[in-house]
């Protein structure tokens, strides 16, 4: 940084000195000294100037790009503890815009603030000192007021309004990113409904308000530019007045007059850079504000660094838990209690919106209950560190996340050291082995973003294989087989059931015939645990479950 600033000061200093020296040499020695000498001196100065520019640019950027890389990784890491519950209301396009776009705009703060600022102040002062020493102190004084005024005035113009507008501009950029993310990922549905106009109307509206904000900002930039130019012109006029006075008084010769005017003409240049620095700085501050917002966020759950002790087994104890979602009037779960013994095969059933998914979120500790407590193998979930919790419990979600990359890389996410044999075993258990074997590139087949080249059933089976690779104490399947045909679903579930006794399995079920042999079925309705027991007992009890079962039979027959 210091190297960059020093290089810039000398570079720009030379930028002022070269024409001054040129003028003096032309006038004083032009008549008798050889042009060769002049060329030699000026040529050397020009080479030095070029070299220093290189040093300035290179050192400045070396630091800036290092910082950029670090900032991006930091931004991702601040998001991690917020996920998933703390990011529910965020738009991912906007988040990516913060990590890429906003950080890009923070860069000039590091690369292009210190050095230009130093040279904006120092070069005019050095020029003034030069004028004072070689021409006359009065000339130096008359000159220096103008560049210093430039440095002060530019940031001062409408500072507060500019800060607000810069922030608005960045937020609009984030909205544009979010809108485009939706548009790309939802293009099929937009096209099917001929709703291109709706989306493009939104983009258009955003463009219009964005243009208004930026036009307001550019008015300030225009004012800065005009005032800067005015001050630069004033410096030339005032210095000319002063040197002509001194020339009349016989204090200065013609060469000194010319040199002083030339310095006044070129010497304010470095100070003009302040206009750009200020504009960049405002953008950087607005962008940094958007980044700080993320890092200031409180994570929905906090973990201890060390677990009090490791869970002894895969038993799960749910004690009187209640959850109330912010955007809903009715509680998602109300005083639910259940004890699930180690290695049990338990089903959770109930109509849409009965609280099944919320229960899963609690078991994964994506959120904490508003009341009550969940423990695993005799240890409260809040007493487990992330590593112990995540190796003990694994989830296969209904809409699993598949990542851009190969089948193997998606599987290895779960167990980075897994051997190829282990990958195949997991794929076979998930009834996906034959299909992967049939692919020309096998395990190394690339699957698109969000797994878009896979069918819904293939995605789900890949996610199940991934979960099996982790070999957890508790495996949660949250409607994880909903997109499989009946045959495949049976094969997958029986492969999982074969390992009964190895782990606790909690199946959130949508098709009742897949859970008739569960050790226990928990029936949720409206956030309450209304029934529990084995299939036969529940059917005999003739309650909510029996009703669901009868309807199930109707559909099957």
């Amino acid at each position: 940084m210091a190297a960059s600033a020093t290089a810039r000061v000398i570079n720009q200093g030379l930028g002022v000195a070269i024409p001054a020296v040129a003028v003096v040499t032309v006038i004083e020695f032009g008549a008798d000294s050889s042009v060769g000498n002049l060329l030699l001196v000026l040529g050397a100065m020009a080479v030095a100037k070029g070299t220093l520019r290189y040093v300035e640019q290179f050192t400045g950027h070396a630091v800036a790009f290092r910082l950029l890389a670090d900032l991006r990784v930091d931004a991702y890491r601040t998001l991690v503890p917020l996920a998933p519950a703390g990011l529910e209301d965020e738009r991912t396009g906007d988040l990516v815009n913060r990590v890429i776009g906003d950080i890009d705009r923070v860069e000039p703060f590091y690369a292009h603030t210190l050095a230009p600022m130093a040279s904006a102040v120092l070069v005019p002062i050095l020029a003034a000192v030069g004028l004072a020493v070689w021409v006359d102190p009065a000339v130096g004084l008359a000159f220096v007021a103008f560049p210093l005024l430039m440095v002060v005035v530019a940031p001062w113009i409408r500072a507060r309004r500019v800060a607000t507008l810069s922030r608005e501009a960045r937020d609009q950029s984030g909205e544009t990113a979010a809108l485009f993310t939706d548009a790309v990922q939802g293009a099929r549905d937009v096209v099917v409904f001929g709703a291109e106009g709706v989306i493009s109307g939104q983009v258009e509206a955003l463009s219009t308000t964005g243009a208004e904000v930026r036009t307001s900002l550019s008015r300030v930039a225009a004012a800065r530019s005009g005032i800067g130019d005015l001050l630069a012109g004033a410096a030339v006029v005032v210095v000319t007045l002063v040197v002509l006075d001194l020339f009349d008084a016989g204090v200065l010769d013609l060469a000194a007059v010319a040199a002083a005017i030339v310095v006044a003409w070129v010497g304010t240049g470095p100070a003009r850079a302040v206009e750009d620095i200020v504009a960049d700085l405002e953008q950087a501050l607005a962008a940094a504000g958007r980044l700080f917002e993320l890092s200031d966020r409180q994570p929905p759950v906090t973990f201890p660094t060390e677990s009090t002790r490791a869970p002894s087994d895969g038993s799960v104890l749910i004690e009187d838990v209640s959850v109330r979602h912010a955007h809903s009037d009715t509680p998602s779960l109300e005083a639910v209690a259940a004890a699930i013994p180690d290695t049990a095969y338990v089903a959770v059933v109930g109509p849409s919106g009965s609280g099944k998914s919320t229960l899963v979120e609690l078991l994964m500790r994506f959120r904490d209950p508003d009341g009550g407590r969940v423990s695993l193998g005799g240890v409260g979930l809040t007493d487990l560190n992330p590593a112990d919790l995540r190796t003990s419990v694994t989830l296969v979600a209904q809409r699993p996340d598949i990542f851009y990359g190969s089948i193997a890389s998606n599987l290895l996410l779960a167990h980075p050291e897994a051997s190829e044999d282990e990958l195949w075993t997991a794929l076979n258990s998930a009834a996906l082995g034959d299909w992967v074997r049939s692919l020309p590139h096998g395990l190394h087949t690339t699957i698109g973003e969000l797994g878009e080249t896979l069918s819904g059933g293939q995605r789900q089976r890949l996610a199940i294989a991934r979960a099996l690779l982790r070999d957890p104490k508790v495996l949660i399947l949250d409607e994880a087989t909903s997109e499989l045909d009946l045959d495949t679903e049976r094969r997958v579930l029986s492969a999982i059931a074969k390992e009964r006794g190895r782990r606790t399995v909690i199946v959130v079920a949508h098709r009742l015939d897949t859970v008739t042999d569960a050790d226990e079925i928990l029936v949720l309705d409206g956030g309450h645990l209304v029934e529990r027991g084995r299939h036969e007992d529940l059917v005999a009890a003739n309650g909510v479950y029996a009703g669901l079962w009868r309807r199930h039979l109707d559909v099957i027959e």
Partner: protein
């Protein structure tokens, strides 16, 4: 690259910046006027110095100088304003066109969302800056020196002539440099887009990464990729900045020093006065000013050019795709005809291979077949999301879709419903929700129709999502309804309600169902079994029930 390539590139470029043409012109004119006033001021300074040597202070000339400089300051206001107007116009125009392109090729382009989004935001911003800031400077950098040399020539013709001979070197060097920088920045942009994709992928999958305790490890991947981007950029910068060194030196040397040397020679020869010599030196300084500007904003130019190439490529994809959009025909009624239809994806996969069949108005047909048999492609052809490569698809009437995984947009329930019918009244929305059996669930929400659905519909359960899709399809009121295994995401109780909703949706319409399960086929009149991209069996409902047997093997066997 051939000559024709270059010329088409140029045509496209004009089209990219079309919206900003006026702004660019204004900016260039203001820059030129400023240069002329500046040159006049420098000439005035020369006269002042000469006059001082001869007869002392000249107030008149000094007033002239002040007026010229004031005029310059007034003109300095224009470029920042023009730059913003140009940039915002170009950006709005490009975003609108990109959006249209995305709609056309979006889900089938195989592109990563993050990549496209980065191009539409940061990329377009860069093109805007190129048009608003860099292009006027570039044009100024090539023309203003000519103006200044003309002024020098009026002072001393030989000096002007010599400088004019040196001048063509400058634009030549600029072009050369720009070319090199553009390739560097293309790589930079590409890596940055990749990084954006990785971020989006990671952030959208953070739930799974957290569940697998891999979120930190994914961060390490990002760190490696960010480091690679940095490394690459620095290595290329190191080389390219050397070029900058040479240019800085040459520019300074070629203009200021050359002007000074010429002034000295001519002064000693008695051809010009002292003041004129000073004016020539100052004009030499002014000669590098526009070039200095270009140097300062070289990144804007280079990154903008690289981004422009990316944007052009995205827009080009869309026009290319449009070429084939001729063989889908429209009439009223609800019949569907496939006549020797073939379809191949851009990667060469032949998805449909000679399909010929007709579906009558009001018929209910199930499409059955293994993964890759062509079910989804046929559905997409009916919906005109794809156009056949060979043959004709005739759909008589409009078609709508209830997808397996409906995409909901960030916004409210009402926003998502109005996608299908923008002018629908609240009453119409409730009627559709009622028919889709979703009205009760929405009534329970605090904000009713304005209840937010969350990004990608995350706040709705699988069953609610599906029923919202049905309500949306109802509002579209199309003659043909395509259902992609619509009951897969839901529990049984919901499945039954869904069935009722689907009944209401499909009454009196032509229905095409992509079926994975036997239960889905129940209630259809006809089953088309697909294999290798064409129907291999065509069964009526009663036949189908017997032949397809338990679990219909053709389907599950192929998929697992």
């Amino acid at each position: 690259m051939t000559d024709t390539d270059v010329s088409t590139g140029r045509e496209e470029r004009v089209r990219l910046f079309a919206a900003g043409r006026h702004g660019i012109r204004t900016s260039v004119l203001a820059g030129g006027a400023r240069a002329v006033l500046g040159a006049a001021a420098v000439v005035a300074i020369g006269r002042i110095i000469d006059r001082a040597g001869d007869q002392g202070f000249d107030t008149g000339l000094l007033t002239w100088l002040a007026v010229l400089l004031l005029g310059r300051a007034v003109l300095a206001v224009i470029p920042p304003l023009a730059a913003t107007i140009t940039a915002t116009r170009v950006e709005s125009d490009l975003r609108r066109r990109l959006l249209a392109a995305v709609m056309r090729v979006g889900p089938w382009s195989g592109r990563r969302t993050g990549d496209t989004v980065a191009k539409a935001t940061e990329g377009v911003d860069a093109v805007g800056a190129l048009a608003g800031t860099f292009l006027p400077q570039l044009i100024g950098g090539m023309t203003i020196p000519l103006l200044l040399i003309a002024v020098i020539a009026t002072i001393d013709l030989p000096t002007g002539a010599v400088l004019l001979a040196v001048l063509p070197l400058i634009p030549l060097l600029l072009r050369l440099l720009e070319k090199r920088f553009t390739s560097v920045s293309a790589r930079y942009r590409e890596t940055a887009d990749q990084l954006a994709s990785r971020f989006l992928d990671g952030i959208q999958g953070l739930r799974t990464l957290t569940a697998l305790d891999r979120a930190d490890a994914y961060g390490d991947d990002i760190e490696r990729e960010a480091e690679r981007l940095r490394d690459e950029t620095m290595r290329l910068l190191r080389v390219n900045q050397l070029a900058l060194l040479a240019v800085d030196t040459l520019f300074t040397f070629g203009t200021v020093v050359a002007a000074a040397a010429l002034a000295a020679t001519r002064l000693s020869a008695g051809a010009i006065s002292v003041g004129e010599a000073v004016a020539i030196v100052l004009l030499g300084v002014m000669l590098i000013e526009p070039l200095g500007q270009i140097g300062r904003f070289f990144y804007v130019g280079a990154i903008g050019r690289a981004a422009a190439a990316e944007v052009r490529e995205l827009l080009g994809l869309a026009t290319h795709d449009q070429d084939g959009a001729t063989s889908t025909e429209h009439q009223d009624g609800g019949t569907i005809e496939f006549d020797s239809v073939e379809f191949a994806y851009p990667d060469g996969t032949q998805a449909i291979d000679g399909a010929t069949f007709t579906i009558g108005a009001g018929e209910r047909v199930a499409l059955v077949g293994a993964s890759g048999a062509g079910k989804s492609t046929i559905a997409h052809l009916i919906l005109e999301l794809l156009q056949p490569t060979v043959g004709t698809v005739r759909v008589n009437g409009s078609a709508t879709l209830v997808p397996q995984r409906p995409f909901l947009f960030h916004g409210s329930v009402a926003d998502n419903l109005r996608l299908a019918k923008p002018d629908a009244t609240d009453q119409e929305l409730w009627t559709a929700l009622e028919a889709a059996d979703l009205a009760d669930a929405i009534r329970q929400r605090r904000d009713q129709l304005d209840a937010p659905v969350g990004e990608r519909g995350m706040r709705l359960s699988g069953g609610e999502l599906q029923r919202l899709a049905i309500a949306r399809a109802l509002l579209a009121d199309a003659e043909v309804v395509v259902l992609d295994e619509p009951t897969s995401n839901v529990d049984l109780a919901t499945e039954e309600r869904l069935r009722t909703a689907i009944e209401r949706l499909t009454v009196g319409r032509t229905v095409v169902i992509i079926a994975h399960r036997r239960s889905t086929i129940a209630g259809t009149d006809r089953v088309l079994i697909l294999d290798g991209g064409r129907p291999v069996r065509d069964l009526t409902g009663t036949d189908a029930a017997g032949i397809l047997g338990p679990g219909f093997a053709g389907q599950s066997g192929g998929e697992s």
